[in-house]
Every structure is written in C-alpha cells, then in structure tokens.
C-alpha cells in the first residue's frame, strides 16, 4: 500500500514526464491495436464482398482469376460460357438460383456488367445485404443502364442521362465506342462499399444488342449498323455469358455440384467456392498487413524505450529520495520494487489508455472510414490474443523497469546514507 502511494505520488510529482510517457505508450499501443482492428475490418470487408453464393462458374481457367473478374471486376475473362450450358446448369435440380454475368465492355473505365433481374433479387454482400436503388429501378429495356453509386457520383450522372459504352476495357472513350447504341440511365444503386459501386449494369440483351452486327470481334462497317430502334427484345438471342454465380438448394450439395460442373462434358468449365478462393487470394495479399503489424510492434517497443529513458534519467534525481527511504528502514529490494512497480503502473495505464484510444477512434471514425474507404471497422471486444499481447506489453514494461531499478539499487548500496546531491 505504501509502495503504491509512493509510486503514485512520485509519478504525479513528475507530471510532465509521466504524461509524455503515458502518451507515448498509449498511442503506440493504440496504433498497434488500431492496425489489428483495421486488419480485421479489411479482412472482413474483403470476404464480405460476396455472400450466399455457393459457386462461381466460368470457362476453365485459374480460380482466382475467375474470382477477380467476376467479383472484383479486375482483369479480363479469357473465354465465355455458352448460354446453353448455363441454362442446363441453371435447371439442375440442386440449384436454387443463378446470376448470369456478361463482361467485356466499359464506360469511361468502369466495367459494364450484363446481367438480369436475378442479380438485383439474389446478390448478397456482407452476410445478407441486398442491392437497392437510391433512385430509379433495375434495367429492363435493352438500352437501360443502372449505375453503381461511385460511378454516379464520380461522373455526376442523373437519371435519364444518355451514355455510350466502349468496347473493351479502356479508361477513355475510344476507337470502338458503341456510339450507335447509347444507353439511358434508369437507376442508381445504393452504396455497398464493394466493387459493385464501381461498375454499371445493363441487361444481357443490352450486351448482345451492342454487338449485334459484329462479326468475329470486328465492328460493323459505318452506315451498315442495325439502327437501335429496330432491335426488338424478342429478336435477340443470347449466345453466351461470361460466368455466373449460383446457390444450391442445400449447401451440402455444393461439392458434388462443383465436381459435376468441372466434369461437364459439353465444354470446359470451372466452379469455384468463393470463400475458398477469397481466403486464397487474401493470403496472397496479406503480407502487407503483416508488415504493418511488425511496424506497430516496433512502435510499441520504441514507446517502452522512451519510458526506460525517462525512468533511467529520473534515477539520478531520485538518489536523495532513495537515501531517505533507506534511512527509514526500506530495504534495497523494496527500492527496486518501487521502481519496477512504477514502470509497471505506467505501462498498465498506458495500455489501458491505448485501448481507450482505439475504441474512441473506432467509434468516432467508423462512419468516416466507411464512407471514404468503403471499409467497415466493426466495434468488437478484444480477442484472447490481443489480451495476451497487452499482457506482454505490461510485462515488457515491468522488465524494462528492472534496468533503472537495478541502477537505483547499485546507487543505494554505494550511497548508503551519505548525502550526495
């Protein structure tokens, strides 16, 4: 009790260094825990990009590549799936629903995704969130287009705007614009903080209509295009799509279905379980977060070294104090424990401060981070591991406190009761 009083009063007496030490420990612990939180949030956001889809099916190729171009809209598909195969699998008895997607065009760098109403009905992200429109409705007509929220925001399009889609994926309007067949914006999607926001959506028929006169990947000769108004929905026959998402009626059927699709006889297909591909992809890109974590741990060590420095310099100033305590019958071991206790107290309070900093900033910054970076940082209790890390920090603080305490002990032995100021 006396030890506690002395440590507490002595720290209070050195208010400035105590506060600076507490801040440096608190902020470093806060930074480290904050990175842990962001890591968790990033991982979760990442794996929540797509939910409830059991399989992604596309032409045979790399599974991660398939995931990238269908879910993240990165990279280009190499081959397509015939509509026939799609319908066959769609009507498989194990399949609950499918979402077809057709890729290959863009609008000012944003991907154009051809799909149908099943997309708006069935697509889920972050567990069970559904796509919704802030304005307008889903595209139904051949030349209807819906915009992801980020596209609408960046390009400042409103409902009714007429836009031209470019063949291929280029940032500018290019040499191969489908300018004979402009689209009309009929809907703007609500922000999802997923790649959905960065794409535009048309119907599968729209994709076919754009390419109606194209022969072997070459555009029609100018003046020979079929005029847009003459294209009727009934006349369009969808030949192929790029890939599709599917959900099974019962999850236990997923693997069997996956095998069946892989062995599909009509054409070479691949079916990917999104969760598996996502974690595979994440482990590929997560070395960055590990680097961050290592940096944060070093910051904590620097914070503790700062404390060591301030305690070590204080030992000399406190020779008097220690001689007085010695004269009053306090043994040298008690003197050591006083100093060790002080450093332990500092790190403990610093660590608590750090936890406070993290939770405070998560609460304060959560909406801002979500809006700016599309990253949802959940507020959650410290994990067992984080508790043990915090315990390690405090133990480290105590261990570091032994160094100045040892110096004080040596001083106490050599000074005895003699006056040295």
């Amino acid at each position: 009790m006396l030890l506690f009083l002395l440590a507490y009063r002595s720290l209070l007496n050195r208010k400035l260094t105590t506060i600076v030490t507490l801040l440096s420990i608190g902020l470093s612990v806060g930074l480290w825990l904050g990175i842990e939180h962001i890591r968790g949030g990033a991982r979760e956001s990442f794996s929540n990009t797509i939910s409830q889809t059991d399989l992604i099916v596309g032409a045979r190729g790399g599974p991660i590549q398939l995931l990238l171009y269908t879910v993240f809209h990165i990279g280009t598909p190499t081959a397509n799936v015939t509509y026939e195969s799609y319908e066959k699998i769609k009507n498989h008895k194990a399949v609950l629903w499918t979402i077809p997607i057709s890729l290959g065009d863009s609008h000012r760098g944003y991907r154009v995704v051809g799909t149908n109403e099943d997309f708006y009905r069935h697509y889920r992200y972050r567990q069970d969130r559904q796509l919704e429109f802030t304005q307008g409705r889903a595209p139904t007509g051949i030349f209807d287009i819906a915009l992801g929220s980020e596209v609408a925001h960046a390009l400042k399009y409103a409902l009714g705007a007429r836009i031209v889609v470019t063949h291929g994926i280029t940032r500018s309007t290019g040499i191969m614009d489908h300018d004979d067949k402009p689209f009309t914006v009929v809907g703007i999607l609500q922000p999802t903080r997923t790649p959905i926001d960065r794409s535009v959506y048309v119907t599968l028929e729209g994709i076919e209509a754009m390419h109606i006169d194209w022969k072997q990947g070459a555009p029609p000769i100018k003046g020979q295009e079929t005029p847009a108004e003459k294209i009727k929905r009934e006349d369009i026959k969808i030949e192929q799509i790029t890939a599709f998402f599917l959900r099974t009626k019962s999850r236990v059927q997923t693997l069997a279905l996956q095998r069946e699709i892989t062995n599909f006889s009509e054409e070479p297909l691949i079916a990917v379980v999104p969760g598996v591909a996502l974690s595979e992809l994440w482990s590929g890109i997560s070395y960055g977060e590990q680097v961050l974590q290592v940096v944060a741990i070093f910051v904590v060590i620097v914070g503790l070294l700062g404390m060591l420095m301030s305690l070590y310099t204080s030992v000399n100033e406190r020779r008097r104090e220690i001689a007085i305590l010695r004269a009053l019958g306090v043994g040298p071991v008690k003197v050591i424990s006083l100093l060790v206790f002080e450093s332990g107290l500092l790190t403990l309070i610093g660590a608590i401060l750090g936890v406070g900093v993290v939770y405070g900033s998560v609460v304060l910054l959560q909406p801002i981070i979500e809006q700016q970076f599309g990253l949802h940082i959940p507020l959650r209790a410290l994990t067992q591991t984080q508790y043990s890390y915090l315990a390690c920090v405090v133990a480290g603080g105590v261990a570091i406190g032994i160094i100045p305490a040892w110096k004080a002990y040596q001083n106490a032995l050599s000074d005895g009761l003699s006056v040295r100021v």
């Binding site: 009063r9 008097r320 007085i324 019958g329 306090v330 043994g331 040298p332 071991v333 009761l417 003699s418």
Partner: protein
C-alpha cells in the same frame, strides 16, 4: 550498564587492504547525548552508516540495543533501523512529493514496531502533537518545497522522533542553520530525546555546540587507522 551502542574491535574498509575505520571500543549508554566530531574525511559518515546498519563491518562487533549488526542479514538490519533508529540528514531530509504530515508519518508506515509504540494513538494525531512540540504545528499541511531550511530540519526531527525510537542519529543537522536557529533546534531535539528516553548521537565538525552534550567523542582519537 545498559548500552545503546557497543562497538568492539571494529574494522571497516570499502576496498580490501584500505581500512577506513578501526575502532577498538566505543560504548554509548542509553539516554546519553553524545557529540561525535572530527574533520571531514575522518570517517564520520562511514561510522554512521555502520551504526545505522547500511554498511556492514568487516571485523569486530557492532551492537545496537543488544543486537549485533555484524551477525544480521541486510533485511534484518533494515528492519532494525526502521524500528529503532531515527535518522536526520544534514539537509534535504524530506520526500518532495509528500506533504509535511505524510513525511512525518512515514516511519510508522514503514515499521510496524514504530506504529505499535504509539500505544494505540493514531499516527496522524501523534505526528501533529510532535509537530506542535517542535513549533511546526502550523505548517503540517504545507508542501515541503515551500518550507524554510529551519522548518525542514524540524520536520526531519519530528519524523526521526515519531514512534519513539531508542536511538537518534543526527548527521550535522544544524550545519545549514544560522546560529539562532541552531541553538533552538538543538534544545528542541534535546527536550524530545529526554522525554522519549532516546539516545542521541550527534555528528558535527562545529565544536562550539560541544558543551551542551553529556559527552564528546573525537573520531580522530578513537579511529586507529
């Protein structure tokens, strides 16, 4: 005869073969007021360290209140010091981050023996009493850094006396006081020691105060190095 201090054949050195202190015999009776003097470097501080049990004699025996320090472990000597010895430094006696009252009460918080000897009275009450008798009753709630040197030394005296230790060791406590305060301080210290029955060992190089004591010991004479 009942002695507070009994030194026999004491030999002390910080480093081997460099004896600092060699005292054949020094006995101090209970309740005696002893003036110990000697020039700087004569080993005064070292002797006080040995008497207080902070330093350990290499040879001989040093008995404080019948306990032979040379036979005791470090923690045991610390305990003995806390329980039975009041120590007053030359200056800077007080812990700066504690109040005057907290400083005075410290020995009773550190040593249960000292607390026990308050005979059931609260240490706060007793500390205030003692402060009153030493003429510092009005400053007990003050911050120690605001005190004058004279006040500080009285607070130190009060702390050394609280819980009535049998032996008071004062290491030149008046050297930082001017002449008027010096006599006054000494008188207060004598009164309290007499009331409590404590032995006083008072170290100084200033021999003008010598006649006020029961006995004077010249360290230069008893130290046979």
């Amino acid at each position: 005869m009942d002695y507070s201090v009994e030194i026999a054949n004491l030999n002390f050195c910080y480093r081997p073969a460099k004896t600092v202190l060699k005292i054949v015999e020094l006995n101090i009776a209970r309740g005696e007021k002893v003036f110990l003097y000697g020039p700087s470097g004569s080993g005064k501080t070292t002797l006080l360290g040995i008497l207080a049990g902070v330093l350990k004699a290499n040879e001989g025996s040093v008995k404080i209140l019948g306990h032979d320090l040379t036979q005791m472990s470090g923690p045991a000597r610390d305990g003995l010091r806390g329980a039975h010895i009041g120590y007053i430094f030359q200056m800077f006696n007080l812990i700066p981050y504690l109040s005057v009252l907290e400083n005075i009460m410290l020995p009773c918080r550190i040593s249960q023996e000292r607390q026990r000897r308050l005979n059931g009275r609260s240490r706060e009450e007793e500390a205030k009493n003692l402060a009153g008798r030493l003429g510092i009753g009005h400053i007990v709630t003050d911050n120690v850094v605001d005190l004058s040197v004279g006040q500080q030394q009285r607070v130190a005296a009060a702390r050394a006396l609280l819980g009535a230790p049998e032996l008071i060791i004062a290491d030149e406590p008046t050297s930082s006081l001017d002449e008027d305060h010096r006599e006054g301080f000494l008188q207060l210290l004598f009164d309290q020691c007499r009331d409590l029955g404590s032995t006083l060992i008072f170290v100084s190089h200033d021999r003008r105060m010598m006649p006020l004591f029961d006995r004077a010991v010249s360290l230069a004479e008893i130290n046979h190095t």
